[in-house]
């Protein structure tokens, strides 16, 4: 079973980058009003960075996100600048969760949380269908073990 991020994940990330950029620009603008108008240059820079990031980063994230589940272990590769590969053996899993925020549900995404004795790992912004299929596969394996 292959896992990948789709347009829904891109839209969620675009939305979060936009909101973060607007918040940062607002704060810097407020500080510019309080301290010195020269800070408005930072506001412009923050705005430009936000626009570039919102256009460039989400497709790159989706392109770099790859995952698979073969019945033995869950593998996932994420990260644009810093590449992270995750390996979680099925035997190590204690519980797993399927969760979503309202924004994720709006764009058809889910987050799968894999919990093991030593902590937890996240598979964020999976398409709803893939996430549900992964969870049902894990449940099937768990039932077989029982």
């Amino acid at each position: 079973m292959q896992l990948s991020a789709d347009k829904g994940a891109e839209k969620v990330i675009t939305l979060w980058i936009t909101l973060a950029g607007v918040a940062a620009s607002s704060i810097i603008s407020a500080l510019a009003g309080l301290i010195t108008p020269w800070l408005l240059i930072l506001t412009i820079i923050a705005g430009v960075i936000t626009v570039v990031a919102a256009i460039w980063y989400p497709p790159e994230y989706a392109r770099h996100f790859k995952g698979s589940f073969d019945g033995y272990a869950i593998r996932a590769t994420t990260g644009v600048f810093i590449k992270k590969e995750l390996f979680v053996p099925v035997k190590a899993l204690r519980t797993f969760e399927l969760c979503s925020t309202p924004v994720q549900r709006l764009f058809g995404c889910r987050t799968v949380i894999l919990r093991f004795a030593g902590g937890a790992a996240l598979l964020p912004l999976l398409p709803a269908g893939q996430a549900e299929k992964l969870v049902s596969e894990l449940e099937r394996i768990e039932d077989c073990d029982c």
């Binding site: 033995y72 600048f81 590449k83 992270k84 995750l86 390996f87 979680v88 053996p89 099925v90």
Partner: protein
């Protein structure tokens, strides 16, 4: 059910006893008339007495029963009844400090596996009753390991690298105080500055003395905790005895050991000594708990000790090591830190001493990182995982059974992608440290081992 030993009452009351000191402080420091002080004191004493009476009633109502495990009943407002079966006890700790020795009681703590502390039970019982835990399972089949005194002294002397750092800092502070006093008083004419120049050298001296006393205290504390250390293996049970003033008898189920850790500071490396600790499900949660099975031993003694205590524990060699080009990554952070010492050196005067201490600490860290690079490694076989790395000023070697390895993460920073290296991070179950990380391993070889560890069959890759 039997009532807990009266020590329960003492340890429960201890927290209220400070209230009895309030009237004394008020009488000495408060600026009120005598009647007000007396009335306030009566109120404080009445409150303390009520709380002590509450503790006494709690003790009277508490009870325990030893029957194929422990049943413990305690609490007055919030009542608890805990049952811990013998087979669920991952470890049992029996503590005897001088007060307990005088009163004939023991504190027994039964730990269970699992991350919830509420599944553990602590009970105060008479020494005779506590002996039931030390009954031999298989008389005659006991393997014992004793710790020698000199390695324990060395371990205590370097109970942390900070201890030696403080020893170098203390004389530097004294010197700095004297220099500051001379320099400032020579150039100053104002009254306040003269007062400061007179006050700073004694202040620096005091701080230096405190640091030295602190090191002495740490030395004595570690020494009294680890002197006379004995470890025994009997069946599947490991029995650890340690401490001079406060004796601790710890019984650990050998089948629940999830990791074995060898730790070595730079100071201990000079003498070729290692400390071995274990992680066992349910043991080691308390603050300050260090489940040591070998306090300090050289490699030959270490192998003998581990063969006696953990003969069946799986290990494997570390087969993947950082390449030569990764040496720069290991050396760069301590090098930058050491070079930073030239800034205070450039300032001169009193800052020369701090620059010297900064430089020494930087070189110390550099040596540890270089040794860490030389020893770093990662290995996997059918039964075990091994990782070797350095954190801060200490070197670590971890051995885990494969089933204890929960999640592995391979991270590549941009410069690591270019160089074909990666950082491997392993998460395992444990009561304390659960993350183990080795930097700058060759990517392809590390990934092959990680996939083997995750149980991915080779023909599916």
């Amino acid at each position: 059910m039997q009532r807990p030993h009266p020590l329960y009452l003492y340890y429960d009351i201890k927290k209220w006893l400070l209230l009895l000191l309030l009237p004394i402080f008020r009488a000495i420091f408060a600026n009120h008339d005598t009647i007000t002080v007396i009335l306030s004191s009566i109120r404080d004493v009445a409150m303390a007495t009520a709380l002590i009476a509450y503790s006494a009633i709690k003790w009277n109502k508490a009870g325990y029963l030893l029957n194929n495990g422990l049943i413990l009943k305690q609490g007055l407002i919030y009542q608890r009844r805990i049952r811990v079966l013998a087979k669920d006890a991952a470890s049992i700790e029996i503590e005897r400090n001088p007060l307990m020795w005088l009163s004939g009681g023991r504190r027994v703590r039964i730990n269970t596996a699992g991350l919830k502390r509420r599944a553990d039970a602590t009970v105060y019982m008479p020494a005779k009753a506590a002996k039931i835990f030390s009954q031999h399972q298989t008389p005659g089949h006991i393997k014992r390991v004793y710790s020698r005194i000199i390695p324990v002294v060395i371990l205590s002397a370097s109970s942390s690298n900070a201890a030696l750092g403080l020893l170098t800092l203390a004389p530097a502070l004294k010197q700095a105080g004297q220099i500051l006093g001379r320099e400032v008083s020579g150039e100053v004419y104002g009254l306040i500055n003269r007062i400061i120049s007179l006050g700073l050298p004694p202040l620096f001296n005091t701080i230096a003395n405190i640091l030295v006393l602190g090191w002495c205290f740490a030395f004595l504390r570690t020494f009294t905790r680890t002197a006379g250390f004995t470890a025994e293996r009997e069946g599947s049970r490991i029995h650890l005895v340690s401490g001079l003033l406060t004796t601790r008898n710890i019984y650990i189920d050998g089948t629940r050991i999830t990791s074995l850790e060898l730790r070595q500071t730079l100071f201990m490396r000079l003498f070729g000594l290692h400390t071995v600790t274990i992680t066992a499900a349910g043991y080691g949660r308390e603050k300050g708990a260090r489940p040591v099975i070998v306090p300090a031993a050289r490699p030959k003694e270490l192998c003998k000790a581990l063969d006696a205590l953990l003969p069946e524990y799986p290990t494997c060699p570390a087969t993947v090591h950082p390449p030569l080009k990764a040496l720069a990554g290991y050396a760069l952070p301590p090098l930058m830190f050491t070079l930073g010492s030239f800034f205070p050196l450039y300032t001169g005067g009193i800052w020369n001493m701090f620059a010297a201490v900064w430089f020494i600490l930087g070189i110390w860290w550099m040596i540890v990182r270089l040794i860490g690079y030389q020893r770093a490694g990662f290995g996997v076989n059918e039964g075990a995982v091994t990782m070797r790395y350095s954190i801060g000023l200490a070197l670590y070697e971890i051995h885990l059974p494969r089933e204890s390895a929960d999640c592995v993460r391979i991270t590549q920073m941009p410069w690591q992608k270019r160089g074909g290296t990666c950082t491997v991070e392993l998460r395992s179950f444990g009561e304390k440290r659960r993350h183990h990380r080795v930097r700058a391993l060759p990517y392809n070889e590390a990934k092959r081992l990680v996939e083997m560890l995750a149980g991915i069959p080779r023909n599916e890759k």
